[in-house]
């Protein structure tokens, strides 16, 4: 039981940044802007958040700096792919490199710690919050440990990530903004005919994407850790992209996909080199590669079919 609770706790911690980035990608891709720059925006956000928190000592200012930088990078992506009708994949790749390069360069120039930011004190971070009654019900079997270890004791950004799942669903499927956002991702010409600006709808989607990426980065650098470390996103942006495809671009499914991938990485950490029944020692690398392998299998159409938004990756031109 304890092992399982620990495993699930690590699962949630690994899933939160994935979930935020995945929802970020959801807004962008649903509007027809393919985004492989999630990784870079998260990294930029993580660096900005940690740098600002280190200088001001405020976690909130850090969070806003993270969001600001990630949105800025998003707007570069938007400018390239919406206004200039450039190749969205190329632009995403560029964002990843620019963010990684700038974070390393500025990190070294400002703090001279080999690209790290200074260690943050607890008030400059988002620290775990104990929910009410945690003490009181900790002794109840089953419910107690689950409430105390899993539900309580996460940080604010983690709760935000899970709250964003129903909100994203509601925004996309129950509001006018969401309807337009999905429409420009499926059939921009129809939206244009209705007299609604395709570019503006897409820009707004891209900004939403930047906000969530910034929060995802802040969760890593001033939530989970106490500072920025070079390349700290470590491919999470791409796992989030995989989760997005795995979830077939749907918010609730995205949460489950991120929890699944989080669970895989929890297993990888927990059972490193441990002999298991029947299978023996599972190589860590297999567990690391599993999210990617599963996504390839899914994309190949062997577990259902992942159909992306119809106008994804195609710049919209009014006239030919």
């Amino acid at each position: 039981m304890d092992t399982l609770i620990q495993l699930l706790d690590v699962t949630i911690r690994s899933a939160v940044p994935l979930l935020l980035a995945c929802l970020a990608g959801l807004y962008s891709e649903r509007s027809g802007i393919v985004d492989i720059g999630l990784e870079g925006k998260m990294l930029g956000g993580a660096f900005a958040a940690a740098a600002m928190a280190a200088v001001t000592g405020s976690a909130w200012l850090g969070l806003f700096a993270g969001i600001f930088v990630a949105v800025l990078l998003s707007l570069v992506h938007g400018f390239a792919s919406i206004t200039n009708k450039g190749n969205q994949i190329v632009s995403g790749v560029a964002i990843n490199f620019i963010a990684a390069g700038l974070a390393g360069l500025l990190g070294q120039a400002w703090f001279s710690q080999g690209g790290r930011t200074p260690q943050l004190p607890p008030d400059a971070r988002f620290i775990p919050i104990d929910l009410p009654f945690a003490e009181a019900i900790s002794n109840i079997p089953m419910v107690g440990p689950v409430y105390v270890e899993l539900i309580s004791g996460q940080n604010l950004l983690a709760y935000f990530a899970f709250v964003m799942v129903p909100i994203t669903w509601w925004v996309l499927f129950r509001t006018r903004f969401g309807l337009r956002l999905r429409a420009v991702g499926e059939n921009p010409a129809a939206v244009d005919t209705a007299g609604i600006s395709v570019s503006w709808a897409r820009y707004r989607a891209v900004i939403c994407c930047g906000i969530l990426c910034g929060i995802a980065g802040a969760y890593l650098s001033i939530g989970l850790s106490a500072g920025f470390v070079k390349d700290m996103t470590a491919g999470r942006g791409f796992i989030a992209l995989a989760a997005l495809i795995f979830a077939k671009w749907r918010p609730v499914a995205a949460m489950w996909a991120c929890l699944l991938f989080g669970f895989l990485s929890a297993i990888e950490i927990r059972f490193q080199g441990v002999e298991l029944a029947i299978v023996g020692v599972v190589p860590v690398q297999l567990m690391q590669a599993l999210p990617y392998i599963l996504t390839v299998i899914l994309l190949a159409g062997f577990i259902g079919k992942a159909i992306p938004p119809k106008a994804g990756g195609v710049p919209y031109s009014k006239e030919r």
């Binding site: 492989i36 570069v76 400018f79 390239a80 792919s81 200039n84 009708k85 450039g86 190749n87 969205q88 994949i89 190329v90 632009s91 790749v93 560029a94 964002i95 990843n96 490199f97 620019i98 963010a99 990684a100 390069g101 700038l102 974070a103 390393g104 360069l105 500025l106 070294q108 120039a109 690209g115 491919g235 791409f238 992209l241 995989a242 495809i245 190589p283 690398q285 297999l286 690391q288 590669a289 990617y292 392998i293 996504t295 390839v296 994309l299 190949a300 159409g301 992306p308």
Partner: protein, 368 residues
Amino acid sequence: MNTALPRWVDYGLMPLINVAVAFLIAGLVVLFVGESPVEAAYLMVRGAFGNGYNIGFTLFFATTFVFTGLAVAVAFHAGLFNIGGEGQAYIGGLGVALVCLSFDTILPWWLTFPLAIIGAALFGALWAYVPAILQAKRGSHIVITTIMFNFIASALMVYLLAGPLQKAANLGPRTRDFEAGGQIPKMDWLFSPFGIDMGASPLNISFLLALIMAFVVWVIVWRTRFGYEMRTLGVSPRAANYAGMPEVRIVVLTMMLSGALAGMMALNPVMGDQARLQLDFVEGAGFVGIAVALMGRSHPAGIVPAAILFGALYQGGAELAFDMPNITRDMIVMIQGLVILFAGAMEYMFRPALTKVFSEKTITAEAA
């Protein structure tokens, strides 16, 4: 929009403007960090070309980037974006290492080398084959699958290098050193007629192979039936389909050629320099290939100079980081990103203005 620009503008001036903007922004960042951009540029050029040893290193890096740049370019011509050069090169290294580990004690290098070329190309091509066949037959997006395959390759190689292929646990994740039969000759003689000594720089004969491959790619893309089909598919899949060109075969073969070129990149560091297979030897070269291909406009004649520019950036950047500790090699990564942004994603930003300038010129020329 379809106003044709003179070729020298399209293939010469535009890339130059794009790169100039990228460098301008990099210069501003250097200024922002509190160093002198002019000084930084000087140190970088000196670090890349200052003496024979540095030139050797610049060309060594350039060799790698010619291979990965060609790999990306070949796929571009068929309208495919192979972002998996990194993984294909990594697995290509496995091919090189298996050949070298098997034959380095029994064959001389000039027999191992051709076998290693085949090994590298074959393994790289196979790693590109799966995403290609999934794209062609099942419609899975090649960008996503090749990204996934990069990560899978990385996990696989960590497993192999820290497991079955590892020499000894205390030496870290790498194979044993290759014997003389698994090492290819250096090219320190290249500039000796001019009195330039390259010293112990790692430039080796895979540089020549890279130039040969650039020519081979030109022949395949512009002088064969397959190249014609490939370019047709890239420009208009419907036209290719209408003309009865076999789409599945073109996609698969193009991607395998692309993967083979990326895989051959491994010959340079693995056989030419380190003489062993070690963790992360690709060091992002697969991604530099994207920048090189975009800057070189996917033409071998553009890719070779673009690769040399990036070789100079990598070598000069390393020297610069040494002289100006405030400016780390991360700046090169940023410049690479900026080049990809301006030469790739925003390539049309300056086009309307250029079209205006040059079409006006032709009008005045005609009037006169």
